[in-house]
């Protein structure tokens, strides 16, 4: 019998600030995953927490986590240095339905720390660029410092239309100011041929869904990545249950109409 609770040690190959509150952890291990899936990363003595890998699923040498300092585990991760070991188990759950995406226009919407699975998906889409129509990535951050994909934007722009916006600009910010929801005006959207992928704060997702509905994109074409408390990762502990689903087993990626009727 396999012990699914037993994690594997992994070495930190690189650790650096992506923003004042977020660090990138590059982990030396080949992880076979579908963008949207998650791992439970941990540190002995501090516990485990769920993270969606942010790197390309084609990357064979390593995978990346983006860690916002929040709970016990993420705070402990922030204090580590190159060469230190953390633990990983997974990947768990279901990623984005990539086959369903084929041939369609893709609209990705993300806010704040919801970017990791979207970043990984973007890498996948770019690698398979000819399989998809128009691709947009709308990303909102509280301020320019909190944009976690600064290093990727130039490369991504060659294949994907990346639209960035911030809530609170700094004096040197030359880009857009405002909510992500407003970026839709800058896109050419064919509602019958577009799938939408969202990962971000609840209010952002809810506001965006309303707009999408009004332009004729049905909930069936909207995919969101859900966040919940997770402990076991294998559908036992009950913390991530929502309605009749478990985020760890049935998600974290859901069709919007699968969960929007849930009460929690």
């Amino acid at each position: 019998m396999k012990n699914l609770y037993q994690p594997q040690p992994v070495k930190i190959e690189k650790i650096e600030f992506l923003s004042p509150s977020v660090k990138l952890l590059r982990l030396k291990k080949r992880l076979n995953f579908v963008p949207g899936q998650f791992v439970l990363a941990g540190l002995w003595g501090y516990g485990e927490a769920p993270f969606g890998p942010a790197s390309s699923p084609y990357q064979k040498q390593y995978f990346d986590l983006m860690v916002r300092k929040g709970g016990t585990v993420s705070a402990a991760f922030h204090s580590l240095k190159k060469g230190d070991e953390i633990t990983v188990r997974g990947p768990y759950g279901n990623g984005f339905p990539l086959d369903f995406f084929k041939g369609k226009d893709i609209l990705m919407v993300s806010g704040g720390c919801g970017i990791p699975p979207i970043a990984s998906l973007t890498e996948y889409l770019i690698k398979n660029r000819e399989d998809f129509g128009r691709i947009y990535l709308a990303y909102g951050a509280t301020n320019p410092d909190e944009i976690l994909i600064k290093d990727m934007v130039d490369r991504w722009q060659k294949s994907v239309k990346v639209l960035l916006t911030v809530d609170a600009p700094t004096p040197d910010w030359r880009g857009r100011v405002g909510f992500v929801t407003e970026l839709i005006k800058e896109m050419k959207v064919n509602p019958l041929d577009t799938v939408v992928v969202m990962c971000g704060p609840g209010p952002m997702v809810a506001a965006m869904e309303k707009i999408l509905k009004s332009i004729g994109i049905t909930d069936r074409r909207i995919f969101i990545s859900e966040e919940r408390k997770m402990q076991c990762g294998i559908g036992k502990c009950q913390h991530c249950a929502t309605g009749e689903k478990y985020v760890c087993l049935d998600g974290p990626v859901f069709n919007y109409d699968e969960i929007d009727k849930n009460f929690d």
């Binding site: 709970g71 919940r228 294998i234 913390h239 009749e244 087993l249 009460f263 929690d264």
Partner: protein, 315 residues
């Protein structure tokens, strides 16, 4: 031929068995807790990690097999459900390792009318002084080889009807329960508000339930820094922080949401996952709730109103 055991020989049998097994004589009326804790401990160390050597040790379980003696049918049924939950769709290593190192002997004080699916040996009362032994597994057959069991051609077999329990009967109709509880939430039935006012949110219902299995994991660092332990402990979904994420958001901030989730899991989600309601009607939550919330009355009220709504003219 019927294998029988004299009632008077039960203490001698358990004594004989304790030479081979770690025998626990489970007496339901002497504890609020079910036997689930033998397999899913209230608090247990799963792993220990030693910082100097960087060695990980997986907590081992005792070599000697555990034999739980004296479970009634409801508890056996509950354990069967828990076995399934801990096996499907993924295996819970720590539960199953202990469970597979155990034997279950049921003692049933009434006539059995339905096949029993869990356990190794069932002792069924057939007359005032004798039990019929039905072994369900090889391990059960081994126990029956013990000298206290006798083969008899025509033992006296009397019928002892099971004591009627409304809750147990209610719990059987899992399809109706799933529909009714779901309906009660969609229709925002006043019962949830009512329960929120009287529920203490103490979690006793979940602790005493033989099927409730929510847990949390937590790491502890020895105060001298030499080792860390990953522990898991019983949680309860009515507790305040059950659905709070690291960032601070609580997905079920009100007791009403949490209480409903307890019901929803037991009667709706469980039905969709395992075709069963996760209640066998053992009555523990009813008996030990300090606020005297009676699950039987709550379910009856929900079902009554649900059925009323079905017969009411639509529109």
């Amino acid at each position: 031929m019927t294998v029988v055991l004299e009632k008077s020989n039960i203490p001698k049998l358990t004594e004989a068995l304790s030479r081979q097994y770690l025998v626990v004589d489970y007496e339901k009326d002497k504890t609020a807790l079910s036997v689930k804790g033998y397999f899913l401990a209230p608090r247990e160390k799963l792993f220990s990690f030693f910082s100097k050597t960087k060695k990980l040790s997986v907590r081992s379980s005792p070599k000697r097999k555990l034999l739980l003696f004296g479970l009634d049918l409801a508890d056996i049924e509950a354990l069967g459900q828990l076995d399934e939950i801990m096996t499907k769709p993924r295996e819970d290593y720590f539960y199953l390792r202990k469970r597979r190192n155990s034997l279950i002997v049921g003692v049933v004080e009434h006539s059995i009318t339905m096949p029993v699916a869990t356990g190794d040996l069932i002792l069924e009362k057939i007359n005032p002084s004798q039990y019929r032994a039905v072994s369900l597994t090889k391990a059960g057959q081994e126990i029956v080889k013990n000298k206290f069991f006798k083969k008899e051609k025509n033992p006296e077999i009397l019928i002892y009807p099971e004591e009627k329990s409304n809750l147990r009967e209610l719990a059987q109709d899992s399809e109706l329960l799933a529909e009714a509880v779901s309906w009660a939430r969609v229709k925002n039935h006043p019962i949830w508000e009512k329960l929120e006012k009287i529920c203490l949110g103490c979690g006793i219902c979940a602790y005493v339930c033989p099927i409730c299995h929510c847990f949390s994991m937590e790491d502890e660092i020895e105060i001298d820094g030499s080792a860390s332990h990953r522990c898991r402990y019983w949680d309860a979904c009515v507790l305040n922080n059950f659905s709070r994420v690291a960032g601070g958001k609580n997905f079920r901030p009100a007791l009403k949401n949490r209480y409903f989730n307890w019901f929803y899991h037991k009667f709706v989600r469980a039905y969709k996952e395992y075709d069963n309601s996760q209640c066998v009607g053992c009555g523990r939550c009813q008996k030990y709730c300090p606020a005297e919330i009676d699950i039987e009355k709550v379910l009856s009220e929900i079902i009554r109103d649900y059925e009323k709504s079905l017969s009411a003219p639509t529109g």
